[in-house]
Symmetry: D2
Subunit: 358 residues, 4 copies
């Protein structure tokens, strides 16, 4: 049973390989009457586009979305919304020499043995290019969330050992889209850029962390006991290529805290019950409580490196491998819009799910 | 759309409240012909039982499973396997004084506002007692995994700031079931026990980390691009009460590594292609690669504490709350069998899913 | 992948065998706040009960529903609603002689070969006793539909060659629950009763047809292109034991009609657009149009007959089989409440589904 | 919750409107290694194509399938198989005059009121053109079924009151693809053609019946108690535009039979247990028993007729409507390949489902 559909009510099925005709998706369950703001969608796509970041590869894709169905007069009709993004700049010849190689820490080996057949060109289905379809669907999800005033912001909070020290609530996100790394702290960003330059010269790659927060999420999203909001967010994040960890609220740090330190106390303010702290990260008992939701996603270093690696070909012969072609140095900056998109998919799905319990 | 079913092919639906008649579950999709080894199931249940650990509450439950259907002559028949665990020792009077209170960092507040009605007794559906049904189903899943020689081991690797320093591969798990905290390192366990005693005297609680590893998992489990094995494990873990984070392989630490440090190289040994390291944690491209799968799950401190907390009642009046009754000090030891059970559910589900791609 | 769950949002999973501890079900997705009118539920259960009809077997079951979870103070809480109906009067000895027999036109043969194991007692899972769980869940669904004033009525419209000649709109349903066959036309009912007596003397069984109509169904239920309302109704009906056919609106008869005869024309009445006829049966394009929904379900004669049949045992030896024990003569009267229950499940599910497209 | 996905393991999601860019589909769950025989797929598509039958409209579509993903070197890779069929010959101007009209017995009215927006051009999503995507997916399903030697044959068995009198087992299907109505009985076909000519002159339309039988279906397909094979077939058939009824085996006729007439007796032949008759239609207890599966699907007359109908526009004003444009006279001949395709989807899905219970 394959697993290319995400969501229960706002259901995205993606398709496409890195060097095939196109990648794309079908959203079944998009409510009718959503105005598809093309400028917004285009902007979202451009944020993920290859070559917009110093940390990224040089693949030149226009990443233009073609809507095939489900839209009439720029408005969703309630029927399946299919879209396609053509693969323009793919030079499969770059990959011919990889045909018989299992690249270390890539999906080549597992795909080959699981399916018995593999489209090796550009990584095929396992390429991060597939995330363009997620960002497209996420843009549509965001247009729905905007109706509720829900705002999602992700950013680069660490690359290698360079970490932003402040809590997200102390940072200024006004010019984040202008930073080449989507890092809201200027001095950290500069250090990260220097680190990336150094790593690039070493023909190596480096890991990092993306942080995401959601503002104005209404109380009530999340479906215990298995489809808790944090559980679906965790799944969404760990489905992103190169993601290795997820934590929300105080996360792993809460393992070192006492209950009296970590509990969020209720108080009354202006005749309303509010929470005085938000260690919980906006979710209690698996259900959003109206506070900000925030979480971190850890990314491993990109597996493709120019540095020579001693490994084997598909027949087990020892080889020295230096991966050519266009590769990112660090996954995080380009993962930032993907983290937002997956968050948008989870929240939109749960908004619709919430409607059915009333 | 509610969320009380886990799995796609080996589907567990749980039901029941802490102080209702019973908790239980229905497994739809259990293959026929599985011999239900009652001794094994009983043993699994006893590992999660309240009061078997110094970190745990004193609720006395026999936790006996009654099979209602799907079993004939001790063997599964392929029809739905329903089971029930009666709630014997529940004194709802303990909770009457909590009827009008939103306990800090509990699900009281979100359940009340989401559903408009709440069974407050013992936390109702949001009680960790629900996890007994997961352990029961996990035991049955393990019986299936045993046919493939797959072995799952979880343990307490940290409580508060006391952490086991060795990698799991350097530890000895022979007597782990005899340790009151399921901690394989004796000296760490002793320090953890001392910490728990101190926290208990403070009428407080403490967080911790559970680590889990899977041996002999065959290559091929996991369904890209959304139902990657790590994505489903992450969801499974974050659905456990009090879980705040998940990481697999090098996890968050990989965010600080270079590709050349983190990549797992292939080599040939005894005419077979093998991996020289396992930074990846046994999963590549979302599919198990035959190596050990390992991951950490962070747990926050238990929200119920005896220490006085200044909070409000359901009407917003300021109150001083000291939670009486039976409560765990640290979630981790009792979460250990739950982590194993959820892992078993994920792997069994993916074993069945794998069959359909051949 | 097993198939014991019905519905997408109002999800019923049934469990249980004819001669096991109990049969029952779990409803996940029942909205919170539904008052469980016990009298109503009991009345619904009693309509399906064995031995309330001259066409039925003599099994004596009290068919009392025990609610295990999801209810607090007689009201649903939004958590899984589990219920159980104990099997009281099951004398498995009646069936020992059938242990090694594949009864003609029963599920014995297919279950044995598919699953490799079979609980032969009383037909095990394939027994029509399982429908008691459907009627229980249907009663809860009806309580939700009552909030919308939706009314479902099924009745016996044919047994053997005795058919009610009038259209359902010309019949009077006031005393239908008093008729032993749920037949609204007194003279037809008497003829049917005579036919059943005759068939019973022949130690044989007979087929028939149940007709069902739904009043006050709001416009909008049904999800093209696959989950059209008629498609889900057809599935629901064909999942009932012994059902062999489904038709809605003019059904098979429409195959002989011209468009000009079968089309429903719109007209304006009291400033509202209405339909002047209802050949369509209340559904157009897969979506309810506000008119009555009506359909027929054909049932084959009960497979268990006292009459001697020449067949073989599990080893293929020729035998003469005369099935003893308690068996219905005609499935229809007892299927009537099941048809209503399955209709209620479909409509409730689609009511919830409709909410998510707004 | 929308409903544009069919199947649980071999999952087809279709998209597209009659006069949009294209219609198409994504199959998630197609096993890897299936050779996509293009000639076969093309042939299947041509059987459904408009204008290949005297009963059909004159829309000229080449109906060429473009595969977007999931195929590498003509072989499926186990990743989502996306395909597209462009809408070439659509003159939306034909439909401008229908913009403000609710055509009788069409989906215009229900779509408008349910979704609040409607792509009226050519019927939009509710157009039978959507079935081209089903035939494409069905062709791929058939390629899988061929590996098991499973053969599906549908044919026109009745148009209006002209019915084939013989049982399907007495007919010769060798030249069926050459008959303009897919009718295997020459003399019936001629009468049907005469009837269609007459109806066409009356600017009217006519209903009919398609019959389908499946040979060599292995024992074991079907998942009680809800996803019985006949239940999923019934759903599949009733999801086809204009379908009004489904019956399998003796179907509605079995309602008039006695058990002793309808039961299929077992006998031993050549050391194997076989069935001496097949009144059951190849399914017992919801599971295929190895015999031929056969069923009928009733279709209403096409709703679009040239004959003048008195109806109303969207504002309720009385109008006289005569529908111009290209319309079929009888749905059945073009439904024949769709019935086969939906049957292939159901069987392929259940073949994969069967694998998980072993």
């Amino acid at each position: 049973m394959a697993g290319n559909t995400f969501g229960q009510l706002f259901k995205l099925t993606t398709f496409g390989e890195s060097h095939g005709v196109a990648i794309g998706g079908v959203i079944d369950g998009c409510p009718p009457g959503v105005l598809l703001d093309e400028k917004f969608i285009e902007k979202e796509m451009s944020r993920r586009k290859p070559s917009n970041s110093i940390a990224s590869s040089k693949r030149c894709e226009t990443d233009t979305i073609e809507f095939i169905s489900g839209v009439y007069q720029q408005t969703t009709t309630g029927t399946p919304l299919a879209f396609m993004i053509r693969n323009a700049d793919c030079n499969s010849n770059d990959y011919t020499n990889l045909k018989n190689v299992f690249r270390p820490s890539h999906a080549d080996y597992t795909y080959s043995l699981k399916y018995g057949i593999r489209d090796y060109r550009g990584g095929g289905r396992s390429s991060a290019r597939e995330t363009a379809a997620r960002v497209a669907a996420g843009a549509i999800a965001k247009l729905i969330l905007h109706q509720y005033n829900i705002k999602i912001t992700a950013f680069t909070s660490a690359i290698g050992d360079i970490k932003i020290k402040q809590h997200y609530t102390e940072l200024n996100f006004k010019s984040i889209d202008k930073d080449p790394l989507y890092c809201p702290d200027k001095s950290s960003s500069l250090k990260m850029q220097q680190l990336i330059s150094r790593i690039q010269k070493e023909k190596d790659s480096i890991g990092g962390i993306a942080t995401c927060f959601v503002q104005n999420c209404p109380l009530g999203l999340g479906e215990p006991v298995f489809d808790k909001l944090q559980a679906d967010l965790a799944k969404a994040m760990l489905s992103i290529p190169a993601a290795k960890g997820f934590e929300y609220g105080e996360g792993f740090y809460s393992s070192q805290l006492k209950g009296s330190e970590n509990n969020d106390l209720f108080e009354k303010k202006n005749k309303k019950i509010i929470l005085s702290t938000n260690h919980s990260g906006g979710i209690q008992g698996g259900i959003s409580n109206g506070e900000d939701i925030y979480f971190n996603v850890a990314f491993k270093p990109i597996a493709s490196i120019g540095k020579t690696q001693k490994t084997v070909d598909v027949d087990g012969n020892a080889i020295s491998l230096s991966i050519k072609g266009r590769h990112d140095i660090c996954a995080v900056p380009r993962a930032v819009p993907v983290v937002e998109a997956m968050t948008a998919l989870v929240l939109t799905d749960h908004l619709l799910r919430y409607k059915t319990c009333k």
